[in-house]
């Protein structure tokens, strides 16, 4: 809906971004696909040979894959449940009349801005250390046996850290959505005789349905590739207990230098992410029409 002149200019201005992203997407992906069909270990250079789908077979039947898939799903699922349930509660609380709301908001949002390596190390050492951590002290003060978190509940420990990092994100988005809820709608519900609970279930929650979906999808995309938190705390262990797919691929690529297998794993990760991305893109796309 503009003149020819602006259309031409528009295309020229768009080109650099499109070309760069196209290269960024296609070249590495094509290489991954190519490597995934080779037997290729960086420790034995020059020994590459075509093996077809053997890498996929190896990767998918590797017990480590199943363990890491399970860990990934548990990690993503638990963090989603925790952040969304708590996020809704925190958002509802912050939507009330509060003295000093902006300061509370700042405190709630803060963890999101902490770099993953810092939050992982602070939790691991200062809070969850079995002897000198704050949690250990609290438990022993209450007469309980302190827990060695990373030894006894390694995956749960990771979940706790990641959930702490993502709770602010969920809370902030849901709070924003709550604040966009038309006050008159709530007043109309009030006039219709709805109590606090019915208002929440019939008005507020349906209004939050879409933002919650958005939170689920975006968090999932990031949570599927949680890496730094595992890297600096457990290194995937003990055993495979905290190895997720991202970490498994990393260790195959940069610890075992098995390029072929890591590439096959990478493609599996891409496929899993794409299934989710498909839904997110549709939601965002629908929004774009409006």
């Amino acid at each position: 809906m503009a003149t020819q002149q602006t259309q031409t200019l528009g295309r020229m201005l768009l080109a650099p971004a499109v070309v760069l992203l196209l290269i960024w997407m296609i070249v590495p992906l094509a290489m991954t696909i190519y490597f995934s069909l080779l037997s290729y270990n960086l420790l034995n250079p020059g020994m590459e040979r075509f093996v077809g789908l053997e890498n996929f077979e190896y990767f998918l039947t590797d017990p480590a894959f199943l363990a890491s898939l399970r860990n990934t799903l548990v990690l993503v699922g638990s963090v989603l449940v925790i952040t969304i349930v708590l996020g809704v509660l925190v958002a509802l609380l912050l939507d009330q009349a509060i003295v000093g709301r902006s300061i509370v908001r700042l405190m709630v949002i803060a963890p999101f801005f902490v770099m993953p390596t810092v939050s992982a190390l602070v939790w691991k050492n200062l809070l969850m250390h079995p002897v000198s951590g704050l949690f250990a002290w609290i438990m022993s003060s209450l007469g309980m046996q302190p827990i060695d978190w990373f030894a006894e509940y390694p995956l749960f420990s990771i979940i706790l850290i990641v959930a702490w990092q993502w709770l602010p994100f969920a809370a902030l988005i849901l709070l924003t959505a709550l604040q966009s809820l038309d006050e008159e709608q709530k007043e109309a519900a009030l006039m219709d005789g709805a109590g606090a609970f019915s208002t929440f279930f019939y008005i507020t929650l349906p209004h939050l349905a879409r933002p919650i979906t958005v939170v689920i999808l975006i968090e999932t995309i990031f949570l599927l590739t949680v890496f730094a938190e595992i890297f600096v705390t457990t290194g995937g262990g003990p055993g495979l207990q905290t190895t997720n797919i991202a970490f498994l691929i990393y260790s195959q690529a940069l610890i075992q230098y098995d390029v072929g297998s890591a590439s096959a794993g990478g493609l599996v990760a891409v496929v899993i992410a794409n299934i989710l991305a498909f839904f997110l893109v549709r939601i965002v796309g629908r929004n774009l029409e409006a």
């Binding site: 003295v99 200062l126 958005v214 590739t225 600096v232 940069l254 891409v270």
Partner: protein, 276 residues
Amino acid sequence: MARRTSTTRTLVTTLAAWLVGFVIFFPILWMILASFKTELEAFSTPPSFLFFHWTLENYATVQERSDYLHHAMNSLLIAGGSTLIALLIAVPAAWSMAFAPTRRTKDLLLWMLSTKMLPPVGVLVPIYLIFRDFGLLDSRFGLIAVLCLGNLPIVVWMLFTYFKEIPKDILEAARMDGATIGKELIHVLTPMAVPGIASTLLLNFILAWNEAFWTLNLSTSEAAPLTVFIASYSSPEGLFWAKLSAASTLAIAPILILGWFSQRQLVRGLTFGAVK
């Protein structure tokens, strides 16, 4: 319209909200406190909350170890550089999509979004090998390029949503007033888009500063930003909790402050405008 609320209710919700805020913020607070303790106090049980020997010693030590400044500088260069370059590429692209849209614009935007959803592990191997073969491992330039491309879709999207809010009428008015496209950009569009560009810049700087997949995998020392530097404290030998805390506090303080300023834009930027 102000809702009528009783004082008691306000008191209860206020207390609850402050408690929740405090609990969520506590790990950061605890870290900041630990940074002012001696190593012994930081490690001791029972822990001391406020009545310990306050010291700046850890900060001095961290500063003295010249590598802290080196890594901080890397963080600044990598986050700043990748954000600025992304902005240079994205502003024209977002302008084009917002003001000269074609039938394919929507698909293009969604395609850009989908590139962001490609999990980085999916391309870890080829990127690592490319970096190795071109001597880009542990180089600032390499990290700037990767982070720039990785965040480009978000930058384009954020700018696009901001530009979209500038009424097309105003640009057409400028055209009727005799402004060329260049003058239109300088005199009308840019001044109106400054707040949007600024918050895009801020959010992406934060994302790049905290990025901990590519930085951990592609840099070790020379080009390593603070994410990698902090990760080096994870090695079990020796317990330097107070120094770790001081270094961490320094690493997150600037971002925390920038982040607090940009929190309103955060939602829009991270949801690609799906939630406003």
